[in-house]
């Protein structure tokens, strides 16, 4: 099991509790073995789909076959450490506006798994400390 979790808040939805990103061990093994494509491959797909959503044509949207196939055909980036893989995961699975823009306080934090409270009773009150 991964030693890390990522806690993040979405400034576009301040009413929502903090989210917890949990890596898949299987994916992490692949990352350590060097099986991942460049992150830009996923961003290109996300950008195309976001554009379709914005333009109201998501119902009929399908990825461009060549861009979709790039997930397998693009040269791999090589083995990552677990820490590097988590950073890659942040850029892949957390909405881009959360980690790419500066806010007046941190919106995400990579934490040790053991630091995540198991009792979520007061989770709506969680705030990420600097």
């Amino acid at each position: 099991m991964s030693n890390y979790r990522v806690i993040y808040e979405d400034p576009e939805h301040p009413e929502q509790p903090a989210c917890v990103l949990v890596p898949s061990d299987n994916w992490l093994e692949g990352a350590k073995a060097g099986l991942l494509p460049p992150i830009s491959v996923y961003w290109a797909l996300q950008d195309d789909e976001q554009k379709a959503i914005t333009e109201g044509r998501h119902d009929t949207f399908k990825h461009d076959p060549e861009k979709h196939a790039a997930q397998w055909t693009t040269p791999r980036i090589g083995p990552l450490t677990e820490e590097e893989a988590i950073e890659y995961l942040v850029m892949k699975d957390i909405p881009r506006h959360i980690w790419s823009q500066e806010y007046n306080r941190p919106m995400f934090k990579i934490v040790k798994t053991t630091d995540v409270p198991s009792d979520r009773q007061f989770r709506n009150a969680w705030r990420i400390a600097a």
């Binding site: 917890v20 890596p23 061990d25 299987n26 076959p65």
Partner: protein
């Protein structure tokens, strides 16, 4: 061990076979953890009983089929079921689901965590 790589699987009659594109099994109670998975990079614990499943590789579109179940270990009185997460749009790379508790009449009562949540994605 050998690896078979093909673009398309078909029956002798020419009907296309579509194996699961992704699957996972996770524990959503307390601090969530992924038991086992394939083609899933992570899960996001969004709020009580609401999860995002981050698919990797991404599907060709958001029109995929999902099946799943949720339960608790041991002898407990509550039953769970899985639904789509209302208000959250699925994308080709993010599947949003919600686990809810069913009361004795079979009506769902609230979002809830479950010890054992499994999902399979076909496209």
């Amino acid at each position: 061990m050998s690896t078979i790589k093909v673009d398309t699987l078909q029956t002798v009659a020419g009907n296309q076979l579509t194996p699961a594109r992704a699957w996972l099994n996770f524990n959503s109670s307390g601090t969530p953890s992924v038991h086992e998975s394939q083609n899933v990079s992570s899960i996001t614990d969004v709020s009580n009983g609401v999860y995002g499943v981050n698919l990797s590789p991404a599907m060709t579109s958001a029109h995929y089929a999902v099946s799943g179940m949720a339960k608790d270990y041991g002898s407990v009185s509550s039953n769970h079921t899985i639904t789509g997460a209302n208000g959250d749009q699925n994308t080709s790379s993010v599947l949003r689901v919600r686990t809810v508790t069913l009361n004795t009449s079979g009506a769902h009562t609230s979002g809830s965590e479950a010890d054992y949540v499994s999902l399979v994605v076909h496209q």
